[in-house]
């Protein structure tokens, strides 16, 4: 299929638009969930939606998206409420409560799903597509619902920006200021539930959690402020949504939802590795830089002490002596110090081995290091 034919294809258009809106909304709202340490909420909400999907189907008697989404939303909300009640009134911690509620609801959903499949209802076709999503089944009507959810989240997040921010950072202070913290938290949770429900069609209940968590986690790596993190998370969501949809179209029938999740996971991996300041590579470089600086300081002070012991400012230490004293090869480090003008090398007869001596500035530097070490240990 040519690019032009691709982009004018009705189904492909639907899939791309749907994936775009899903990425936008889940990236944006997921940022708040991740910062409130509720990453798994998306997981619980999506798994818990399955029995709701089935009940919605049973109630409507057909594969009617409105009823199915309503069922999913209600089941998700019920699960979220259960988690809240369990953590508040039992001795369960949030992780255990989430785990139990999630798996119970999911089990219930699978039982209902097999029951429906056993009834030989002709209209049940494709209900199991909600497990892993079926992007190609996205209709224009579905897109209208998604657009509504997206617009509503955009309005809420921009309108209640400072309230959401403070509730995520310091809910106690927010309450002391008189903000309706509970209502704000419920609003955020309901919006995330809505995002999950609209995503079920494309990504499916099993993988939907990744759409809530991954863009936010990746964006967090690159940003110092919430004001940049949320838009970046939304952008990451959009990019992975579109690229997943495109790859699936080009790849002749590869599943769209999992491809979207793989794209966003790639973004997470890249961000975890390469982001400045927070990335693992950055930390590795910092650590090796620090090690190198320490080695330089050790060499300078060794040369300084040797010179002092011999009562000779210009004392020349032999390479082998320095190697054995530091129990490692020191030539490379000494060469770097020479480039900075702190040491100089000489070929010394009769053995003609390399000898090293401190320069004037090197002596000052060594004295400075020793002085700072002494004040540090006092």
């Amino acid at each position: 299929m040519s690019v032009h034919a691709l982009l004018t294809d009705y189904t492909v258009q639907n899939v791309i638009l749907g994936a775009l809106m899903l990425g936008l909304v889940s990236g944006m709202l997921g940022s708040f969930a991740v910062l409130r340490k509720q990453s798994l909420l998306g997981d619980a909400l999506s798994h818990a939606a399955l029995p709701g999907i089935c009940l919605g189907f049973l109630a409507a008697g057909a594969r009617e998206l409105g009823a199915i989404m309503l069922g999913a939303l209600l089941a998700g909300a019920l699960a979220a409420l259960l988690v809240l009640l369990l953590t508040r009134y039992s001795r369960l911690k949030t992780d255990a409560a989430l785990g139990i509620v999630l798996s119970t609801f999911f089990a219930l959903g699978v039982v209902l799903l097999t029951h429906i499949q056993g009834t030989n209802n002709a209209s049940q076709g494709g209900l199991d597509a909600f497990l892993f999503g079926q992007a190609a089944a996205t209709l224009r009507g579905d897109l209208v619902i998604m657009a509504g959810v997206t617009l509503l989240s955009l309005i809420l997040v921009t309108g209640l920006w400072k309230e959401f921010k403070l509730v995520c950072f310091d809910p106690g202070f927010a309450r002391a200021l008189g903000m309706p913290v509970l209502a704000l938290e419920v609003t955020l949770t309901v919006m995330i539930a809505l995002a999950v429900v609209v995503g079920l069609q494309i990504v499916g209940v099993v993988l939907m959690a990744a759409m809530v968590i991954a863009p936010a986690v990746a964006a967090r790596q690159w940003c110092r402020r919430l004001e940049t993190m949320v838009p970046l998370a939304a952008l990451f969501g959009i990019v992975s949504g579109i690229s997943g949809a495109l790859v699936s179209t080009l790849g002749r029938g590869l599943a769209t939802g999992p491809l979207i999740v793989i794209s966003v996971s790639l973004l997470v991996v890249v961000s975890l590795l390469f982001a400045p300041r927070r990335g693992m590579l950055w930390e590795l470089i910092q650590r090796s830089r620090q090690r190198r600086r320490l080695r330089h300081q050790q060499l300078l002070t060794t040369l300084y002490r040797l010179a002092e012991r011999h009562g000779d400012h210009d004392f020349q230490s032999e390479q082998g002596l320095l190697d054995s004293y530091h129990r490692t090869r020191t030539r490379a480090a000494l060469a770097r110090l020479e480039k900075r003008g702190w040491v100089e090398s000489r070929q010394q007869p009769p053995q003609n081995t390399t000898h090293w001596a401190l320069t004037g500035t090197g002596r000052d530097e060594a004295a400075r290091i020793l002085a700072s070490l002494n004040t540090g240990s006092d």
């Binding site: 910062l35 921010k165 002391a176």
Partner: protein, 278 residues
Amino acid sequence: MPLGLHEPDLALHVEDLTVSYQSKPVLWDIDFDIPPGVMAAIVGPNGAGKSTLIKSILGLTPPIAGHVTLFGRPYRAQRKRVGYVPQRSSVDWDFPTTALDVVTMGLYGQLGWLRRPRKAHRQRAREALEQVGMQDYANRQISQLSGGQQQRVFLARALIQQADIYFLDEPMAGVDAPTERAIVDILRGLRDAGKTVIVVHHDLQTVRTYFDWLLILNVRVIAQGPVEAIYTADNLRKAYGGQIALLESTGTATPVVDAAQADASEAPHAPASGRETP
């Protein structure tokens, strides 16, 4: 007395306050008053309910009985006159935001719905940072600040509220000596400007030098009043029991082994585990 006011001459009036977690009383029948313009310390052993007391005064922990008034009115009506510094360990300092941003949050209550902080607000936040000596760190990510610097940022966020009464929960826990001095100086400045300052404090050694009003708490109120009258060996022993050894000289007491410091869970090096409320 103007209509509808209850004890308007007191900065803080607490009557019959009782708070419990799962039928275990954390605060029992608390009655105390704090006059305006004093710098008051709330001291007591671990689990005495010090933080809970502040939280229930500010409506964060619902009491099962009792009432609280600030300058004669309930807290709901006086919010704009109250500044609050929570325990530093109560928030995640890895949150993506800057020092200036955190200070600006102190204005969110005055801003109201839908309004965002503008240039003038950020200018005020800068001035508050300057007051606590943190102007050079305005754009620093908060995770990169030291414990003492984080505490100063929290204090600046309360200062920008321009309140009449300030509540601070362990502001001196886990901060370095210069920061502690700076905080005390700022709090004294507030008191000298006629504000009321109420501090949950863990270090008995410094109570007499820093404060002029004292509330000793251990689930119940043990004693309250001006520091000179209240800081006695008798009162401290009633609150701390055997946890404390006192050197007594002419009626005043000097703790030899500071109970709070000897207890690892409230030592300055472990601020995160120093919380006493779940």
